[in-house]
């Protein structure tokens, strides 16, 4: 058997039982590698369940900094007897299978093309701990200690992490370190450490941080000045408002009076949640809601009202696999079309596509400025992969000189200087009219907000030409919007090429990696990451400059491609789809494979796969 040998480049997958406290131990492992200066991308693969079902945690370590999902498993660590058959089957030939051998491995499962490592985790726990809960929790910490020995991790980094994690709770530090040592000593004593796969400290992460996108969104809303959050719990968006509340409790409670500079309302459903956001925004507060696909469907009617009545509205959509309930704990980018055109009638909504936690933070804060400047819904499109996993990211930064852009709002003094106020009158030629908050002026500036047609002065009308004028102004506003939304990020490959890839959100890391591999195949691709809708000029120019553009996205129906075709009136030939919609994040190898099949003259199996594929046990 040829063992997989590699340094700082592998995928390890933990197989646990939901609700057994494995998350924090697995997190300790990933963060330990990160502190050793290694790029990591941990991903939770969890069931829609509270306790008892299998859950997995996959960590990719890549010194080259490839953070997308690689696919495949070099090391599996399974403490879940129920998923063990699958877990052992998934290991690449030459890989390693670590398991709790207190109960011997079913002989029918054993493989002779992998290294099998048994750790008597349950036995050690039963000998060491009396309390059943402790037996459960420390089992997880013990295997992290064992892995540290097997992979040659810096043990001091782990103990340092434990000390940081339980700062102020000294009673917890020593037992955790003791558990780490138990595992570490057992592995050292019984195996030839390290195994073929190992790690060594490097300097590859700089000042980066490990953060999940949802926390970044919540924090962005704090910095962006949101005061009203209305929401209905839904996976995978719930932790956005949790984070908002956590930080609000830290920084938004007046120490003197105990009064809150925020209001969080858990609504009875998503219709109500978005209604509250619309009401609060209409009344001059910065407000947001967070939801996922099913919630977005329910919010559609209000989004149409906010579009037509021009009320700032901020919505964070953390997408999951649809349609209907779909796979609630799996990722997809499949709400693009339903968000872009949400609601009946002619509507279009501004979408923002972050791809890192840093961008979640930035776009979250930005969305409040945009909503108030543009007086329309801003829908920030995250997804489960970005939102619920720790992603390596640039650190968060805030410019203390920055002032909120509250948009066109008239004060009492402004109103006194005016002849007549027209809520829907385009005074400045940018198709954005001025608004007033209720209560501004005793006799001027009041108006009637409605979802029915009205003239420039907000007076109800059923005259076709008045209605049409207003709808055309909204189209003109759409043009204005293009100047405000974040432009695309373009990476030219440096070689003359007529082909390109186009992607958004969480496809970025894998797309970049695939572009590198394809360059090894002799296929050179320029790349553009779209960051917003409406698409601005740069997107159009980039499409014009390339003959063939592969649009990479994580849904079945090529939704972004449809949006591009509709907005630019492009024919179907130019844009080729690269899709992944099985609920797992798209991988570089998947992208590469699909592009190879579509490139003229390249739809053949490469002769030397090992030259192009990354990762230790990479298979094609």
């Amino acid at each position: 058997m040829k063992r997989i040998e590699s340094v700082n480049d592998f995928v390890i997958k933990f197989a646990n039982v939901n609700g057994t406290g494995s998350a924090s131990a697995n997190n300790l492992f990933a963060k330990g590698l990160f502190r050793m200066g290694l790029p990591v991308s941990p991903k939770n693969i969890f069931p829609s369940n509270i306790q008892g079902l299998p859950t997995w945690y996959e960590v990719r370590v890549s010194e080259k900094g490839y953070l997308g999902r690689r696919g495949g498993v070099d090391i599996a660590l399974s403490v879940n007897p129920h998923s063990m058959p699958q877990d052992i089957r998934e290991v690449f030939p030459g890989g390693y299978f670590v398991y709790d051998n207190t109960k011997p491995l079913d002989l029918r499962l054993t493989r002779n093309d992998i290294t099998i490592i048994g750790l008597p985790l349950t036995r050690i726990c039963n000998e060491q701990y009396k309390d059943p809960r402790q037996r459960q929790l420390f089992k997880n910490v013990i295997y992290v200690g064992a892995l540290a020995a097997l992979l040659d991790m810096d043990f001091k980094v782990l103990t340092g992490l434990v000390e940081d994690q339980f700062k102020g709770k000294a009673k917890l530090v020593l037992p955790n370190i003791h558990a780490l040592e138990l595992g570490h000593q057992y592995a050292k004593a019984n195996f030839d450490c390290p195994i073929g796969i190992r790690v060594q400290s490097a300097d590859c992460v700089g000042d980066k941080i490990l953060l999940d996108g949802n926390t970044a969104l919540g924090l962005g809303a704090i910095y962006g000045g949101a005061t009203v959050a209305a929401w209905y719990p839904i996976t995978p968006s719930t932790s956005v408002v949790d984070a908002f509340e956590r930080y609000a409790k830290r920084v938004r409670i007046d120490p003197g009076t105990g009064r809150h500079n925020y209001a969080i309302v858990q609504a009875e459903d998503e219709l109500s949640a978005i209604g509250m956001v619309v009401g609060a925004s209409w009344n001059g507060a910065r407000a947001f809601t967070a939801t996922s696909g099913p919630g977005l469907s329910l919010m559609s009617e209000f989004l149409g009202l906010a579009y037509f009545a021009e009320i700032p509205t901020v919505l964070f959509d953390v997408q999951r696999a649809g349609p209907s309930t779909g796979m609630p704990t799996r990722t997809q980018q499949s709400d693009v079309l339903s968000a872009a055109y949400a609601s009946h009638g002619d509507t279009k909504h501004v979408l923002l596509f972050p791809s890192t936690p840093k961008e979640c933070f930035d776009f979250s804060a930005l969305s409040f400025d945009l909503a108030e400047r543009l007086q329309t819904p801003i829908i920030l499109m995250s997804d489960l992969d970005l939102g619920m996993n720790d992603n390596m990211s640039e650190p968060l930064v805030w410019d203390d000189e920055r002032r909120y852009d509250r948009g066109k709002v008239l004060s009492a003094e402004d109103l006194d200087r005016m002849e007549r106020f027209g809520r829907y009158q385009d005074v400045d030629g940018d198709a954005i009219a001025y608004r007033t908050y209720p209560g501004t002026h005793p006799s001027k500036g009041s108006f009637f907000t409605r979802g029915s047609s009205r003239d420039e002065f907000a007076v109800y009308t059923e005259k076709g030409e008045e209605y049409e004028t207003n709808m055309l102004r909204l189209m003109q506003k759409w043009e204005t919007i293009k100047q405000y939304v974040p432009g695309p990020e373009i990476r030219l490959c440096g070689t003359q090429t007529d082909s390109a890839v186009l992607y958004f959100g969480t496809s970025e890391e894998s797309a970049r990696e695939a572009v590198d591999y394809l360059a090894g195949d002799g296929i050179y691709l320029d790349a553009m990451r779209v960051r917003s809708f409406p698409f601005n000029r740069e997107v159009e120019d980039f499409l014009d400059q390339h003959e063939r553009v592969f649009v990479i996205e994580q849904n079945r129906d090529a939704q972004l491609r449809t949006l591009l075709m509709a907005e630019f009136e492009l024919g179907p030939d130019k844009l080729k789809s690269v899709l992944c919609f099985d609920g797992t994040p798209i991988s570089a190898r998947n992208i590469r494979k699909q592009i190879l099949q579509m490139m003229p003259g390249h739809n053949i199996t490469p002769l030397h796969p090992e030259k192009v594929a990354g990762g230790a046990g990479e298979q094609l």
Partner: protein, 350 residues
Amino acid sequence: MSYQIPKFRHPDLPVNELGYTKADYEGAISTLCAGCGHDSISGAIVKACHEMSLEPHKIAKLSGIGCSSKSPAYFLGKSHGFNSVHGRMPSVVTGAAMANRELLYLGISGDGDTASIGMGQFAHVIRRALNMVYIVMNNGCYGLTKGQDSATADAGSASKKGDPNPFAGIDLCSLALQMGATFVARSFSGDKTQLLPLIKAAISHRGFALIDVVSPCVTFNNNPGSTKSYEYVREHAEATGTVDFVPIMHEITTQYPPGTTQEVTMHDGSVLHLHKVSETLDPFDRVSAMTALEQHRNDGSILTGLIYLDKNSRDLHDMLQTSQRPLNQLDESDLCPGNKMLVNINASLR
């Protein structure tokens, strides 16, 4: 179409403490049917706000969809209005009230808007004790779509179309009590004497105040056989007693024989006199109020007047401990923690 009421007024129109005439509280000319009960309610709202000397621009009027929800255009023209989505006014008011606690929130809805499509939001806004006045213009039918029965139509009641309604009617006052409303009243658009002080009391109340106003639809549901017709309601209404509203700092002029009147001081300092309250109802006791509603329903009569008042009511802002300064007045210095905190957060994430 909206038409503005002519600005010309008699020079001697009485002014209130703010120097405003009643005309300053009016809105556009109503486009509802002549004789519509809703217009009488609008008139009572205008009168109540004028007499209470409320600043019109400090009132926000919000509604859903339907005939009733159109009516905010016909009163309080100097107030901001919001004609929102069918059945969803409560959520919009909730957001608005969170943004600025200093305004008076007047929600106008109908029986379709409240008891059918918006029943969920109605129940939950009560449960959340939002500080608002919620007026239902209740005519038991859908006017704009030509007279279908609504969910508040009584079983057996027949609209102009003629077929008796086979389904049980929803009693919004009972529902409101069940959901924890702290002010519940029912009135009749044809009885302004009763309605006016109830609106004033509801405005003075802190927390959620419901007034379910039976308001006949003259076009589709004012026929013999309907239990929401002018005639039927006049004959079957039974008042819980009379309510006299005395605004804060005003002298109490009405004299009542001893033992016939209960006095309640409202949250804003105004005083409510409950006169000759029915012997079967203690309006400060929720169970008594629920029983009285059920009894009258059983007897085929319509209980009107103040049905329940919780003198120790709280509102959502109390529960959330929201800042006294309206949230919409806070700026960067109040809201943004600055880069220094981010530096610490970043450090904790490495």
